[in-house]
Amino acid sequence: MPEPILSLQNATIQFGGLVAVDNVTFDINAGELFGLIGPNGAGKTTCFNLVTGVYKPTGGNILFKGKRINGIPPHKVAKLGIARTFQNIRLFGALSVLDNVVIGGFLRNRTNIFASMAYLPGAIRETERLRDQAMALLEVMDLADEADGRAADLPYGKQRRLEIARAMATQPDLLLLDEPAAGMNPQESEDLMNTVRKLRDDFGKTVLLIEHDMKFVMNLCERIVVLDHGEEIARGVPVEIRNHPEVIKAYLGEAV
């Protein structure tokens, strides 16, 4: 049994009296497509924020590749190899599509700021390299034609794909996608499903995703954990989740 790439061990966070994530425990193996679902306010995005260092857990541990990452600041978490997208799109709106992805690759840059201020050949080459890498990622995400446009001017579905391209530019091992299919039409979400599969199959990324679109999750994810009120209520393969009484209760309420 290989070591899991990410494991949450009794991860807990409390905001005052509210326990947003309560003793959540799960392991994700390298190369898995893992789903995290649950009704609104279940604590899914808070889980992402715990993993990426936005919040520090008040209890439990988070291990990435066997290393404890509780409370490590976000930019260091990104460097370790975890990248994320945001539920409410957070692109660098005024910058070009290409520049957004270049910034994603910036954390692997190998020059210092003085070389950039003096515009030394090393800094120019490094910027060129990041630009080429960004362009290649835009090809993968089918955004190459938009490279020079402003990120904020892209249609919604393309903005979501750009977020994934930007996250991919950090060269992560683990990709966290927060509602990647939100606001997409059936065709777009179908295409996205294939793209996410491609990220795993061709690029070897492990994917943890939050999604409300059940068709999307059930078709894509291999394993799923369901949260409600910060607690895990079910886990298993899609077929098990679909018929799980607790899950049905959480989403639809109880029969009167």
Partner: protein
């Protein structure tokens, strides 16, 4: 090989142009020479504040404080050198000027570090208050420190620094332009756009903010040192809040984030009040009438621009009619003002009139082009070529 040829060529050209400007300054009267130096200093100040405000998005309104740190560092150094007899009252030799500039660069950079550190936790208006407060505290401390001249000020031996002022300007512009051409500059911009997203992408937001403050204030400090030797005398009144606000206005007017915008706006805002010194005194009613006419005209154009947002051209018959009505309205107001006895006998002296015009230009500018002269764009050879190809 070609790279270094271009690089050395452009540095050589900048030095040559600086000395050219120096020669022009030497050939002209003392007042004009002083203005040429101050124009360069203001460009440096605006471009360096643009790095903090426009590019990194940290709203700092105390830039004069760093200018002051640099200026007083140089003056203090000069006073030590004077007391040791290293330099005489006749003038500061250029090598010592350069030493003072380097020292001021460092001290102002350190001051920037200390202001940059609280900025990690503060955003927007809160940061603005801290930077404003820092400037005022510093000014008042210096005013009450006899060793630094107190409220009287310090004399320093003068030096002819115009070429070095412009070299600093070219250096500051060059550094900002270089940053923006590389991935490092993009990380600065990303902090302005969205801090949460940029830290999630691995950008060390803390380091970027501090770097912006240190680089921006260091340039302001170097400018301050050159001011000391250009003026030969400095006191705290050269570094009041007004100065900070003028620099900030230059950045906003030029288009937040645009380096070329800052340059053009700095030159315009610096030269405009100087040119207007020769404006004749005007009767109050004429001034009021003109202002009213302009207000109507600008209001009309602004309305037309809002309609343009609905997908129409602004040059429709209605616009022409509106402009006509605005001009007529201005004349009517002016004539009416003529008959108001309280107004007819007053004239506005030119010294005050120029400030009226200056403010009116700012208001008109912000109404008609709120994104600044250049918006976020840069003006350069490349943009000319792009237009030619399009």
């Amino acid at each position: 090989m070609k790279f270094w040829a271009v690089r050395l060529g452009s540095i050589g050209l900048a030095v040559l142009v600086s000395f050219g400007i120096g020669m022009i300054a030497q050939g002209s009267s003392g007042t004009v020479s002083r203005l040429i130096a101050l124009a360069g200093l203001y460009v440096t100040l605006a471009v360096s504040l643009n790095l903090i405000n426009g590019i990194t998005g940290q709203f700092s309104i105390g830039h004069a404080a760093f200018y002051q740190v640099g200026s007083y560092t140089a003056a203090f150094l000069a006073s030590i050198l004077l007391s040791r007899g290293v330099i005489s009252n006749l003038g500061t030799p250029i090598p010592w000027v350069l030493v003072a500039v380097a020292t001021s660069l460092v001290t102002a950079g350190i001051a920037g570090l200390f202001i940059g550190l609280p900025s990690l936790r503060l955003r927007g208006d809160y940061l603005a208050i801290v930077t404003l407060g820092f400037g005022e505290i510093l000014r008042i401390i210096i005013q009450n420190t006899p060793q630094l001249g107190g409220s009287y000020g310090i004399n320093s031996p003068k030096a002819f620094v115009v070429p070095y002022v412009w070299m600093l300007t070219f250096l500051c512009v060059g550094v900002c332009r270089n940053l923006l051409q590389t991935a490092h500059g993009l990380s600065f911009l990303s902090v302005r756009e969205d801090e949460v997203a940029s830290s999630a992408m691995g950008v060390n937001v803390t380091r970027v903010k501090v770097a912006a403050f240190v680089i921006g204030s260091a340039f302001a400090g170097a400018a301050g040192a050159l001011l000391t030797f250009n003026e030969g005398f400095i006191n705290v009144n050269s570094f009041t809040m007004d100065v900070s606000f003028i620099i900030l206005t230059m950045v906003v007017l030029g288009g937040t984030g645009s380096v070329t915008g800052s340059i053009v706006a700095a030159l315009t805002l610096f030269i405009l009040p100087e040119v207007l010194r020769d404006a004749p005194a005007m009767p109050l009613n004429a001034v009021l009438g003109t202002l009213a006419g302009i207000a109507l005209l600008v209001g009309t154009i602004r309305l037309a621009m809002d309609h343009k947002g609905l997908g129409r051209s602004i040059w429709m018959p209605k616009t022409y009619m509106g402009i006509g009505i605005a001009v007529a309205g201005g004349v009517v107001v002016s004539v009416l003002a003529n008959y108001l006895p309280a107004l007819t006998n007053r004239t506005i002296p030119s010294a005050e009139l120029r400030m009226v015009i200056f403010s009116a230009v700012l208001v008109i500018m912000m109404l008609l082009r709120p994104q600044g002269i250049f918006g976020v764009r840069e003006l350069g050879l490349k943009s000319f070529f792009r237009r030619a190809n399009a």
